[in-house]
């Protein structure tokens, strides 16, 4: 039986879907009104989604981070929240075109996953570390999603500029590159502390070993190694622009692969 929070999930789903449609039209026809409506819908969808998450928390009696549906929902929630911050900071509505795309990918993924609520968490999940580990990892991955979105914009703009044309709606290449780096800089420490450190400490508390080479652990390690490489290439080798954008997109693709890897690989992290 579906719990009542799922109704709110669907409200946000339709808001995000419509928002993406409006943003696409905005991008195509460059009518400001479409962009404003897209932004409004994206932010409007955030309200039922927040209510849904809180309601699910109340109904199930535990933080809603215990299965893939819940995790994908929280990740998309985080991406919309980051968009709100970016909007306040840079006032560039156009970023919404790509953020809404990433949000749509996440929320469509969530919509396809089983939404049953587990009132009883398996004993291993009954720990405060669940909240720390999963929320920080989702926040980190949400920031990587933003980095991916602006990187797509960067590649499009720079490709057009090479053909002596421009996408004027987009922020400058420098700014896009800077947001890409900033988003990774926000995501990386959160991911390191949340996904890896908090996860390892929790594993130590629950099973007596910090690291067990579980598929998801290895997946997270690969993502971490990848973004570590990104930061070193950027800070030491001055890899910027196109190269940094490609790395950022590849990093997020890996993040998504690791997320869906649960379905085929199982292991300690496959909780429905």
């Amino acid at each position: 039986m579906q719990s009542s929070d799922v109704v709110f999930f669907w409200y946000s789903f339709w808001c995000y879907l419509l928002s993406f449609g409006l943003f696409t039209l905005y991008f195509a026809f460059k009518k400001r009104l479409l962009g404003t409506l897209g932004t409004a819908l994206l932010l409007l969808g955030f309200i039922p989604q927040t209510i849904g998450i809180i309601l699910r928390w109340k109904l199930s009696g535990h933080a809603p981070f215990s299965n893939m549906f819940e995790y994908a929902t929280v990740m998309s929630w985080m991406a919309v929240l980051s968009f709100a911050f970016l909007l306040l900071r840079f006032r560039k509505m156009i970023i919404g075109v790509f953020v809404s795309f990433v949000v749509l990918v996440l929320i469509v993924s969530a919509s396809l996953l089983p939404k049953e609520m587990h009132q009883q968490l398996v004993p291993a999940l009954q720990s405060n570390w669940l909240k720390i580990h999963v929320s920080l990892a989702a926040l980190g991955e949400g920031a990587f999603a933003i980095a991916c979105a602006v990187s797509i914009m960067y590649l499009l703009k720079s490709a057009m500029q090479r053909r002596s044309r421009d996408i004027r709606m987009f922020p400058s290449l420098e700014l896009l590159d800077d947001i890409n780096y900033k988003a990774v800089s926000i995501g990386y420490p959160l991911f390191t502390l949340g996904a890896l450190f908090a996860g390892a400490i929790w594993a130590y508390k629950a099973w007596g070993t910090f690291w067990g080479w579980d598929p998801k652990e290895v997946g997270s390690l690969i993502i971490w190694l990848f973004y570590t490489g990104y930061l070193h290439a950027r800070l030491q080798r001055n890899w910027k622009g196109n190269r940094a954008a490609v790395l950022s997109i590849a990093g997020f693709v890996m993040t998504m692969l690791s997320f869906f890897g649960n379905i085929f690989l199982g292991g300690q992290h496959s909780y429905g």
């Binding site: 004993p123 009954q126 502390l193 598929p215 490489g229 030491q236």
Partner: protein, 453 residues
Amino acid sequence: MPKSNKSNIQQFMDAFTSMRLTIIVLIVLAAASILVIIFQNYHPADFYGWEEHYRTHTHPLKYKLYSFFQLFAPYHSWWFISLLTLLCISLLLCSIQRFSIIMRIIRANDDFRQETRLSSQENYHRLKLPAEIALPLTARLLKRRFYRIYERMEPERTLLFAKRNAVSRLGPLFCHVGLLALFLGGLIAGIWGKSVLLWGEPGEFIRAPFASHSVKVDDFTIEYNANGQIKDYISVLKVFDADSNLVMDRSVEVNHPLRYGGVSYYQSSYRVHPRKVKSATVAAATVGRTDVDTITVAFGTASPIPQTGYSIELADFAADFQIAAEGVISKSEQLSNPAFLVQFLKDGENAGHQWVFARFPSVHSSEEAPFRISLVSFDPLYYTGLQAAVNPGTPFIWTGFAVMTLGLILVFYFNHRLVWVAFTRRPGGEDEIHIAGSSHKFKEQFKQETADH
């Protein structure tokens, strides 16, 4: 010779501290890990007899290849440890090499720059203002933003050098040292760490081979919620030291281990006792009577059936009942077909018996029994599975977490910024101010900020 010797060392250092090597090792590690995940997905090595299975079911050449690369235990293999060692050496040398450079940057207090050098910098601004107004104003602005300011007077100009968060330059070093500590901790755990799964039934003493103390399992229970889902596993333990003194008395749950004498005990697993239960509740109906007595009987003890003069005793149990050549056995440790042998006693004398089946209430194995017994419920007896572990790498790992977290905070939440100002005095009050700034990170944002002021 000494000269070429030195250059050899230099070459070695350069090779190991090059960014290229680090990036290649990181990529190889990531790629190898992906391949290992795929391999393990098709060749799981977590079932009983897997070694024999793969030896006989794999093509000999393939098996040789797998064995050579130790693919069944890849994370302890020679190639994986070599890659990690390479990474460690590179990290260590890189940290040593950069330490003095970093310290020089942090300590710098005389990096004054004249206007000619500033004008070529990225964030350069020129203003016309009298020096006596501009100088204190600039100093105040910088101080308010927590800059540390150094000043030098020259005949024609005053130079300011200001820096903020220089300590953030230590961040990467902390990250590398923290990571090294983590690797070291992992290595120590791998070599000297010990772990064993101990099984204990309530009342039993267990002892890890590497512990001087012993642990008594007082009780083990599985808690269920109202819907019958498992809520928790709880082992009630008593720890006795080498002289049999009780030194600790507490319970262990999932996520709540017990630590004593360097050994940690984790609630890890459980098993059903195949031939014992804690108790059973049965309904006893006298033949020819309509009323039923419900009695709870502990295993191995007798309980009277009220007003009949009879008692019953749970004499035997099989979790997965089967009759074999040697008599009744439990085919498995699963509660697949639980059956109880109920013994009837009258005045302490044997008065018949009956096998009662939980799944098949209508099956009665004995016709001579004075009562018809059916099962109401029963409380299985479980063994607790406690993982006992000693991990001498733990202090290194905690240190690694702490140092690396500090490093990450320094790298990502503090930004080393430098500002240079040259106040040049021109005759006739046409003083000029030249300002340039540099930010280690977030250059775009810094550019905006400097432009705003």
